[in-house]
């Protein structure tokens, strides 16, 4: 599947509107997409096929990955060919099963690669020939919000694929958010830049939508996300050699930008609206010098309007974060029942329902949480008892109820004593932290029933299923049609 196949699937599902009227890349496309998120309660997807000044030269696809807030995995299920009505546990199990079977990409010749339909090289390179959207009126420039950065570790040959925003600077230059701790930027900062060497890169827009999920996974160093994209798709991703460096790129990409990051060079990146719902300020970031652009005819630029709920990245990374952390906890023997990302908190809060099998268990769970890379995106975790069902669409209501009723502020709130790595996008870190990612902190709200309480001391829930007999629930359901 590539982005064009996804468009056809969404069209058939009735989840895509094609806007054929002329729409400007300058705020209009993003305003309409943001409104589609709101009106469709998350599911809105709009294909802008007549972008002012770019008709036939490029299209913008807003909300390609967006789901509803309550069923944030629904669009992902469609993307991966699952039943769109699948439950969260069903989706999560299948997602994890596929991740456990990564598949190496297959290499195709340039003649078989859609992304090689057109090539701009050297002085002909012109990023402004494409309809990169100007998304928020505070933005420092036109942005790409849904693409994948590919870079190689010069010592080991490991190739990393990651998602980082890019800002178009001029015809042949870009900058982008390059955060220490994230693999791609860290390879540049610690391996290429200290040696004074230009770092070859590729930025890829489009291709199989599975790539975005794989590139967003908190995988360990040394493994390539392309293998996991293949696993998620259940067939290898097709890749082709880039024109100006030895990296491989998705053959079905809409556009591939090739070039070098120069050591010691920085320029103004940002500000821009981010997923937290706040503006991320200007900061000095590396410069990407573009040497070549390969692209499909009339390429499509997927766009997520960050900061507007409920958007693409929330749908993708909310489910990726929860699914991956569920797997990590299970692999390490924690008797957890469920993990969800609280989307009302921009997936910045993880909710974990768990047994509490022995004294000291909560401390162990907290330690594991602090040590896992995934928590860079969240400053908060909420633990609830295993019998609190957080797998459904009413997860948020249940979590708020647990928070409001079962937390003893003197006993159940834990915060990190030392700085932890945080996303520099977080509005809670200071100006220095926004550059370095250092200075984060984490809080755990433990709403589980204390292990030390005797059975007779434990509280009892009073939901419908808790207090009414089964036969009466069935009868009531018949009368009212639904519960």
């Amino acid at each position: 599947m590539d982005l064009r196949d996804l468009i056809e699937v969404l069209r058939k599902e009735g989840q895509l509107v094609e806007v054929k009227e002329e729409v400007s890349w300058n705020l209009e496309a993003s305003a309409y997409t943001g409104m589609a998120y709101r009106v469709e309660y998350g599911r809105g997807t709009a294909l802008f096929s007549n972008v002012k000044g770019y008709k036939g030269k490029g299209r913008i696809l807003g909300g390609a990955y967006a789901s509803s807030r309550k069923r944030s995995w629904e669009r992902s299920a469609i993307i991966f060919g699952m039943d769109k009505n699948i439950s969260w546990p069903g989706y999560r199990n299948e997602f994890i099963r596929r991740l456990e079977h990564p598949l190496k990409p297959i290499v195709v010749e340039a003649g078989d690669a859609h992304c090689k339909q057109n090539i701009m090289m050297g002085k002909d390179v012109n990023l402004l020939a494409f309809p990169w959207p100007f998304i928020h009126q505070v933005d420092g420039g036109r942005y790409g919000t849904v693409q994948t950065h590919i870079v190689e570790d010069p010592d080991t040959g490991w190739v990393n694929w990651g998602n980082y925003r890019i800002m178009i600077v001029s015809k042949n230059r870009m900058t982008g958010l390059c955060v220490f701790g994230q693999h791609g930027p860290t390879i540049f900062y610690t391996k290429w830049e200290p040696r004074g060497k230009p770092c070859p890169f590729c930025y890829v827009v489009g291709g199989d939508p599975a790539i975005l999920y794989a590139a967003g996974l908190p995988l360990p160093a040394g493994v390539c996300e392309a293998d996991y994209a293949g696993g998620l798709r259940q067939e290898p991703i097709r890749v082709v050699r880039a024109e100006t460096n030895k990296l491989f790129v998705p053959a079905d990409a809409e556009i591939v930008i090739e070039g070098v990051m120069m050591p010691g060079e920085r320029m103004d990146e940002g500000p821009t609206g981010e997923y937290t719902g706040y503006v991320h300020s200007r900061s000095p970031m590396p410069v990407f010098h573009v040497q070549c652009i390969t692209y499909r005819d009339n390429p499509i630029f997927p766009m997520s309007v960050e900061g507007v709920s409920f958007n693409d990245n929330m749908s993708v990374f909310g489910s990726v974060t929860a699914g991956e952390f569920y797997r990590a906890l299970k692999d390490n023997g924690f008797p957890i029942k469920e993990v969800r990302a609280l989307n009302e908190a921009s997936y910045g809060a993880l909710v974990i329902s768990t047994e509490v099998p022995y004294e000291g268990y909560i401390q162990e769970l907290r330690n594991f949480l602090d040590s896992h890379k995934i928590t860079i995106w969240g400053t908060m975790a909420i633990f609830v008892d295993a019998d609190v069902d957080i797998s459904g669409e009413d997860m948020a209501e249940k979590v708020y109820q647990e928070l409001a009723t079962k937390i003893d502020p003197r006993r159940d709130i834990y915060r990190t004593d030392n700085d932890v790595l945080a996303t520099p996008l977080s509005p809670m870190v200071d100006a220095k932290g926004r550059l370095t990612g250092v200075g984060g902190a984490r809080v755990v709200w433990d709403a589980t029933t204390p292990r030390s309480w005797r059975k007779a001391e434990r509280v009892r829930a009073v939901g419908m299923e808790d207090l009414f007999p089964e036969h009466l629930l069935v009868k009531a359901k018949d009368i009212y049609g639904k519960l």
Binding site: G140, R142, S170, G264, E265, R266, D268, P271, V279
Partner: protein
């Protein structure tokens, strides 16, 4: 005339004396037409009176909030080599 330009307040602060004395300066700006960025040789005035043939220059802080409006007369757009103004951490 173009739509004008945008500049970060921090760059204006660095060249206050030159602005006040009407000298040529080298600053990074963003075109409000293409939204591309460039380093330009220019004169900046605090109002249209100071630079009658100048174009609109929006001055913003690091969060993109408009702080003031000034006027700019772009004398030359500099090439890529001269544009690589490294910014401070």
């Amino acid at each position: 005339m173009s739509e004008g330009y945008e500049i970060f307040e921090r760059w204006v602060d660095k060249v206050k004396p030159e602005i006040d004395s009407g000298k040529e300066i080298k600053v990074p700006v963003k075109s409000l037409e293409t939204f591309s960025k460039m380093v330009v040789k220019a004169k900046i005035g605090r109002s249209k009176d100071k630079l009658p043939d100048g174009e609109h220059l929006r001055v913003v802080n690091d969060m993109g909030e408009k702080k003031s409006e000034m006027v700019i007369k772009v004398l030359e757009e500099l090439g890529e080599e001269e544009s690589s103004l490294s910014v401070e951490f």
